[in-house]
Structures are given as C-alpha cells and as structure tokens.
C-alpha cells in the first residue's frame, strides 16, 4: 500500500494538486527503505579523490616536511630509508637517467601514476600499514610531495602542495596510458579478437 501511495505521489502530483488532495511528506524512493545521510556524514565517509581533485581537503605540505614524516610515521621501516630498499614496494624510480618512456621506470606508483591525486588518495586511505587513516590531510600532502620529489616529478622541496597545486602537478604519464574502453553487455571483449 505504501508503495502504491508513493507511486501515485511520484507519478501524479499535478493530478493530486488539481484534486486538492494533500499527501504527507514521503521518502521520494519507491520502497522507502533506507535513510538520507546528513551532509556531514557524506563528507566524513567520502574519501574518493578524482583526478581533478575536487574532493581534496583544505591543507598543505612540502617535500621537506614529508622527508621527516617518512621517518617519523614508519614509512621508512617497510619501504627503506630512501624508499628503495625495503620489504614493501619500492617507491622511487631506478637510477637509469631520463627515459623516453616514463613507463620503463617500472611499476612504481609516484612515477607511473598518471595523476598525483591517486598517490594522495592511496596514502590517505591505505597507509601506513596498520595505522591507515591516521595521517592528517597536511601530513598526506607532505608525504605525497616527498614521494613526487624523490621521483623528480617536482624539483623544489619547498614547493607548497595543497588542494589546488596537487591536481595541477604534471605526472610524466598524464596522457601516456590506454583509456579504459567503453564496455557494453553481451559484446565480445575486444572487437576483431576471436578469443
């Protein structure tokens, strides 16, 4: 019945108005199950950062500060003092000079990722191991800046990295990756590929 009333409400509001019938405020959804979160709840839960960085929180940091945090927050314990020789993944490109194809630096997030926001997002959500989510926004900006600095993506360790400057940082692979193809149901995965 409730569903019926809501359907009526949804489809025939002008009709109801014409008839002079008032309808009690209802959930605008079909089933009326679930509740509306507050804006504060959404903000607290939403840790997704888009490549253009709209959701980045206000804050700032520098590579210089990040170098200190890298030691203090235990990053160095797993990734090595220089980010090159730990039991956790390497964070710095190998010393092979400047490559024509930055892809050849290897699968190292702060050099391969097309967007600096992905680096920020991953540190923010997934690091440090065992204490994920404990870094402040300022600290995440600084650690991100430090990793970009170690990989020569930024060259000034005093550069202020914040919600505006971070998304503008030009990663070497910014346009150097295969866009995810359009996907459609009930179609082969790749045209012209029989397998």
């Amino acid at each position: 019945m409730a569903v019926f009333i809501m359907r009526l409400f949804k489809l025939s509001v002008p009709l109801l108005l014409v008839l002079g019938i008032t309808v009690e405020a209802q959930s605008p959804t079909k089933y009326g199950v679930g509740r509306t979160p507050t804006d504060a709840e959404i903000t607290a839960w939403d840790i997704s950062i888009s490549p253009t960085g709209e959701e980045l929180p206000v804050g700032s940091g520098t590579a210089d500060l990040g170098a200190q945090l890298f030691l203090e927050k235990g990053c160095a314990g797993c990734h090595g003092t220089n980010g090159t020789d730990g039991i956790a993944p390497r964070l710095v490109k190998r010393d092979v000079g400047v490559l024509d194809n930055p892809w050849d630096y290897g699968r190292i997030l702060p050099i391969r990722s097309p967007f600096a926001t992905t680096v920020w997002d991953y540190i923010n959500r997934g690091m440090p191991l065992g204490a994920e989510g404990t870094l402040t926004a300022d600290e995440v900006y600084s650690v991100t800046a430090y990793l970009l600095y170690l990989n020569d993506v930024i060259t000034d360790d005093q550069m202020v990295v914040d919600q505006d400057t971070l998304p503008a940082i030009q990663m070497p692979n910014r346009d150097n990756w295969a866009q995810v193809p359009d996907w459609f149901p009930e179609e082969p995965r790749l045209k012209g590929y029989p397998y």
Partner: protein, 415 residues
C-alpha cells in the same frame, strides 16, 4: 530405567532377529568393502549437532597462490587458491573459495548490525542502508564465478590448483545494484561508480554505470549462509564476468561519479596498450579439465570420465570441446546441467585410455562465439616475436594441456 527405553530395546532386538538373514548378508557385504573397527562411526557431539564438519578422511585445502606466503610477514592474507582437483560439480564450498585481496589486508571483523552501505555522489537521493534494510529489498539468487586476474598458468606449475585455483563459483543472494541506484536516482552525467570496502586499505574500484545497472549484485548470502569474512561479510559486490578485483568486498560505499577515478585498484589495471586494457576487464571464454589433471595418476588403462569446468565473462557457456590427441581432433563434451550466465559450468567426456602417451585439452566456446585459444593461437594473433616469453594479453584464458605419460602419470604440458 524407564519402561519406554526397555520397550525400545525389546523392539530393536525383535527387529534384529526378524531381519537377521538380511543383516548377515549386509554385514558380509560391508566387511568386503569397509574396514571393520571403531572408526566405523563418528561419536555424536553437541558441536557436530550444531554445525557439521567434514570427514576426517577429507583434507582438501587451499594453498597460497603464486609462491607468496599467506599470511605474509605482516600477518596479511594475500592470495589463496582453491583445490579444484578435489571438487566435483560446480559449487565451490565457501570454506574453500579462493581468496584475493587488494593489497593484502587484515580481515575486517564486522558486526553486521553496525555495518552500513552509503550511496551518494551524482544521485537525487543519497541513501544509507542497514543490512536489515538491504534484506527487505527485492532480492535475486544467482550462480556466479569470481576469478582473479592472477589466475595465469605457467610451465612451472604442476597441478590444477596452481594453474587455475584462483577462480571459484558460488550461489549468491542479494540486491541488484540497479535496485539501489534506482532508489537513489542517478543524475545526468553519472556514468561511473566508485565502490569501496571497509577493510584497512579501503579498496575501491571504478566500474562503468552500464555494468552497475546491468547485473551487478550486492550479495549478503553465499551458498545458503551469510557471505564469509574472507569473501566480504556482511556485504560484497558481484560484478559478474569482470576480473576479481572489481568484486569489492566488505562493501560500505558507492559513489556515483562522472569520470574514471583512477583509484589505486584501477591503477593496478593501468597499461599502455589499449588491447590489453580491453582484455583486462571482462574475462574471456575459459575451461580446464579437472579430472584427471596434473599430479594425478591413472591406475591403468580403460574407461575414465574426463570432466572439468568451463566459464566465460561474456555470458553462458555454449559448447565445450575436448581433445585427447593434443589438439588434432576435437569432440563435443557433454554439458552437465543448464549453463548459467557468468558461472562455472561442468562438462564431461567419455574416454577410453589405451595406455599410450597422449595429451588432454578442453576449450570453451561461449554464447557470444568467443573461442578459448591455445597459447600458440594467442601468440600468433599478437605476432609475439619468436623466442619472446609468451604472456597471454589481459586475463589469461588459454587452453590448459595435460600430458598423460604411458605410466599413467599426468603432467602440465605448457612449454
């Protein structure tokens, strides 16, 4: 002693006397096929009454996949493979279901009463659901496989658990994501979703809206019980036919967005090659012979039922073919049961082994007409240079060859 018990005892005695002729026959028959002794019954216990367990003679188990120990140095569970060789039929027991995690993760210990799913972003009505509320909504029950992108065979592997153990199949019950998104009302421009788990790394993947609205399922039940913690208790996403990592576990949040978000999980799919990018989404047609398979031993010549599993991310399995001569001649295998979309399907083939060395293979053809390739076919298609190590592009769906030696031993024949 109660009279009731005496009566029952008398009754049993009489019954035994009446049936003595038959009973003797049965006992002698049983003795020929069974060891006598105290192991012939399992002592009843409150635990066994409350929750059954398998026979102590069954010790099938999962193994760490790809040589990486699990749990690892940090105590993180990483990738673990299901013992396909011990499975008959298409349902993977939940306790043996393969497991993969985003980066390796501590298993979250979630109180379902406190768990919430939030849907927000480009929607008219952001919503938060409790588990009870999700269970009030219309549900569907479907068979679906999940397969890890790392389910990639090589010549060093010896058995089917190593070559193919990173896929499993279960019956899932839950709410279609389309139901939830229709409740929330997707706004114009909402062409993607970002789905996120609650585990320590909060693994998140970007998925096209067309897939989210097509058949993506938010599952709370698996094989008749709540989804297990290693599979995402209390709520996981099933993105049928897509690579494993998209099937976000411990699901807590879905954000409707207008662009590809390049999450850390998405970054894992990053490639320079558009073909590889396309082949890294939807899983291709694939099959493997499970009985018999690598590491097994044929006891002698004669009849064997060859059976295995076939599946495709493109839909239903249309046909499975089997060869016993290394690909010279192919025969149609029998499909067991009604194939389901994006679900493991069992096939079987009657085979008489004459004792000579030979090679068994199977290949899957799905309802879209996609054909499972041999490694050589894939290599030729991509013009892989001679001598270069072959890596099948995207998800590896190449044919698995099993070589039967004349002594009946079975070996992985990937070169």
């Amino acid at each position: 002693m109660s009279s009731k018990k005496t009566d029952r005892r008398e009754f049993l005695k009489q019954g035994a006397a009446l049936a003595s002729g038959a009973a003797v026959g049965a006992a002698s028959q049983s003795a020929s096929g069974q060891l006598a002794g105290p192991e012939a019954f399992i002592q009843g216990s409150d635990d066994m009454v409350a929750y059954g367990s398998r026979s102590r003679f069954v010790n099938s188990q999962r193994i760490p996949h790809g040589g990486r120990h699990s749990p690892d140095t940090f105590g993180l569970d990483f990738h673990i493979a299901t013992p396909l060789q011990d499975q008959h039929g298409v349902v993977t027991p939940s306790s043996l279901f393969y497991m993969g995690t985003t980066r390796g993760s501590y298993l979250p210990d979630i109180d379902p009463d406190k768990h919430r799913l939030m849907v927000h972003g480009l929607v008219d009505n952001p919503l938060v659901f409790t588990m009870e509320e999700l269970k009030r909504l219309p549900s569907v029950t479907r068979m679906h496989f999940v397969e890890c992108a790392g389910n990639r065979a090589n010549s060093r592997m010896t058995n089917v658990q190593e070559t193919h153990g990173m896929t499993s199949n279960a019956e899932w019950t839950g709410v279609l994501l389309s139901t939830i998104l229709e409740e929330a009302g997707v706004k114009d421009g909402g062409e993607w979703i970002v789905a996120e788990g609650v585990e320590s790394v909060k693994g998140a993947s970007t998925i096209p809206m067309i897939k989210a609205m097509d058949d993506t399922l938010l599952a709370y039940s698996m094989n008749g019980e709540p989804v297990r913690p290693q599979q995402g208790f209390p709520l996981r996403m099933l993105v049928p036919g897509f690579e494993g990592i998209f099937n976000v576990k411990w699901l807590r949040r879905i954000k409707v967005v207008d662009r590809y978000y390049m999450t850390y999980n998405d970054y894992g799919h990053l490639t320079q090659d558009p073909a590889t990018a396309a082949l890294g989404y939807q899983i291709g047609p694939k099959s493997v012979i499970v009985h018999p398979s690598g590491g097994m031993q044929l006891p002698g010549t004669g009849y064997y039922q060859v059976s295995g599993l076939a599946w495709s991310g493109g839909g239903k399995v249309a046909r499975v073919e089997v060869t016993t001569d290394g690909g010279e001649t192919w025969f149609d295998a029998e499909i067991r049961g009604e194939p389901q979309s994006m679900a493991h399907t069992q096939f079987a083939f009657d085979w008489e082994w004459d004792g000579s060395e030979c090679e068994l293979q199977s290949r899957c053809i799905d309802e879209l007409g996609q054909i499972q390739p041999s490694r050589q076919q894939a290599q030729e298609f991509w013009n892989t240079p001679e001598g270069e190590r072959l890596r099948v592009r995207g998800q590896d769906n190449s044919i698995q060859p099993w070589r039967i030696h004349s002594d009946g031993s079975i070996h992985n024949a990937i070169i």
